[in-house]
């Protein structure tokens, strides 16, 4: 029996509905990834041209030459993520539970830095952390820093920059998850003999875990691949893998090496995230 026109159309409907989604995946995810992978397996030079030769040695060279940069990036990103969490959680908690009518003003202030460009904000920190600046001056007068120590161009300043720049991405998801908590649950906990701290520990904190996990991902992932903070606030010794990739692309013009480094970074991040999600069984929370 021949299909009527209407029936044919019906068979195609699911695919038509999925098409925009598939196209989106193809354009913004699959295409760049494939290009990157192909690029990382090429050989040749910028002047003589690159050829696809399935050059796996690019990866070996990348790891052998740059593993310290990978380690440093992961380390800095982890520390920055933890610092951001330690700042963002109390901040979000205060906005949700203590701010009263200031709630929305504070929330705007949290995202306000995002209105200024990333570059401008980071440059501002070079002034703040400068040797003649307020922070160093204060720390020196408190004898936390000796007169021959400084902050700029140290790991401290790079991590501070990362923490600062990605802080809103930690604060917002935590704010949302805290704000969503039914306040009556906390009352129920205190009614069931939990002190304020115990109620936080057994109700508020577990219910805000989804926010913590998303916040940590949203900070860790871009921080691990960042190069602006290391470039503007760091020194040669504090370079991150992002700086290496950037210079391989733009200065050494060694595209295969840059691509291989990028792929390794992506795999490393995905691996770390999956591993820690498994370990903390955080996937159950999301």
């Amino acid at each position: 029996m021949a299909l009527t026109a209407a029936e044919k159309r019906r068979n195609w409907t699911p695919y038509l509905l999925l098409a925009p989604m598939l196209l989106w995946l193809l354009m913004f995810f699959l295409a760049p990834m494939v290009t990157l992978l192909m690029g990382s397996l090429q050989s040749g030079s910028f002047t003589e041209g690159f050829n696809f030769t399935f050059e796996v040695s690019n990866y070996v060279n990348a790891i052998v030459a740059y593993w310290p940069w990978f380690l440093r990036s992961i380390g800095y990103a982890l520390v920055a993520t933890l610092c951001a969490l330690l700042i963002a959680y109390p901040l979000a908690y205060m906005i949700v539970f203590k701010a009263g009518r200031w709630k929305y003003i504070l929330l705007v202030l949290v995202v306000a830095p995002l209105f200024a460009s990333f570059l401008v904000r980071t440059l501002a920190w070079t002034t703040i952390l400068a040797d003649e600046g307020v922070v160093v001056g204060t720390l020196r007068s408190l004898h936390i820093l000796s007169p021959d120590q400084w902050l700029l161009a140290t790991p401290v300043s790079v991590i501070a920059g990362l923490t600062y720049n990605f802080l809103p991405f930690m604060t917002l998801p935590i704010y949302v998850s805290l704000d969503r908590i039914d306040k009556r649950l906390i009352e129920a906990a205190t009614d069931l003999y939990a002190s304020g701290f115990r109620a936080f520990r057994r109700v508020t904190l577990p219910l805000s875990l989804p926010g913590i996990v998303s916040g940590m991902l949203l900070v860790f992932i871009p921080a691990a691949g960042d190069f602006v903070n290391a470039q503007l606030l760091g020194s040669v010794e504090t370079q991150m893998i992002g700086n290496v990739i950037e210079s391989q692309y733009l200065r050494a013009l060694d595209y295969p090496m840059a691509s291989a480094l990028s792929v390794i970074l992506i795999v490393l991040i995905i691996g770390l995230v999956t591993f820690s999600m498994r370990r903390s069984r955080a996937d159950e929370l999301l």
């Binding site: 009556r184 649950l185 009352e187 009614d191 069931l192």
Partner: protein, 414 residues
Amino acid sequence: MTEVITAESEGLKQATALPGEGDLDLRGLVKRYGKNTVVDHLDLTIPSGQLFALLGPSGCGKTTTLRMVAGLEHPDEGQIHLSGTDITQLRTFRRPVNTVFQSYALFPHLTIFENVAFGLRERRKKDIKAKVSRILETVELQAMAHRKPAQLSGGQQQRVALARALVNEPQVLLLDEPLGALDMKLRRQMQYQIKQIQNELGLTFLHVTHDQEEAMTMADKIAVMNNGRIEQMGAPEELYESPRTAFVANFLGSSNLLEGEVRGTDGDVVVTEVVGQQVRVPKDRVHSAHQSVFVGVRPEKIHVVEHGTAPDPSENEISGIVLDSSFIGIGTEYVVTVAGSFEPMKAFVQNRSAGARLAPGTPVSLRWQIPFTFALDGHEDPHAGEGSAVGPATGHISVDADEMSARAKHGPRK
């Protein structure tokens, strides 16, 4: 820190082991939100071991009162005593009371078992597993122990909330409209079950509801609350049979309230004049300091006879003309106009005798036993508490609603 709490609440518990010692005493409680006085010098004693209902219309301050007992709200004035100990300043988590919240407030991230075990764990109790299992059995939820609250039906969640509070054996269990979200049939079932549990455990239950029928079926004692004050307190029959205020008379069931004047006394009855006819009221059922009164009688106490039937001296009688009658299955509701009264009277007659309904226009006598008559302060609003009652027992509330709209057209009498 937790040890201190445990010791304290244990201490309170032991002090109240004696019978009659566990009374909850609210003295002159006041709570204001801004200019709005929500609880207004409230005095109330809830005797130990009783199922006590706090009944009142929505917004009268029931939840606020309960929250002050739980410690979730701090009173502006007054004290709360439990077994003679002042607990007004005691922090919520140190009070030996537990609440069944209106919204249940189950912890969504914990299993049913852990929800119920919450209070026991906080107080570092022993045999948690056995205690939780036992209480889950009582509410018939053993099989659900490892589920999360979201996987349960509304009725099951309600029972978890009950178990979670009960397992702690509080001195007072506070229930804030615990059955409000359930459908009629389930609500009936739970009313029975809660009463059953209360009987078995012998704990003090303070049950808040706006459903007069629920309060009357469940409670040993009821306090009727209105505008942040207690209007009247007593056993359900007492409140129903002898209301002291128009609010109580109308909020619990419905009442005929007719303007009258006290004319004198005759032995242990007070003689009043209502629409030109004599109505006798037992002395102990007159709650008015004035000459002008509202004389009241419940519609179902009245029998309707055709005019001219021989009078009975043990009965009061008012004559009128049938305005309307409606058949409601188990009975017939008559609306009778009474000469000299703007308000018609209602009579609810059970369909026990054969024979046709009395047709509109028939002259009739409304008669009822003298002891069923009560008299209220004539300066009250005779419509207080009307229309706020919920859950018609026999169906005459729906007639009230019609009447309300009729009254709205004519405006209030006073």
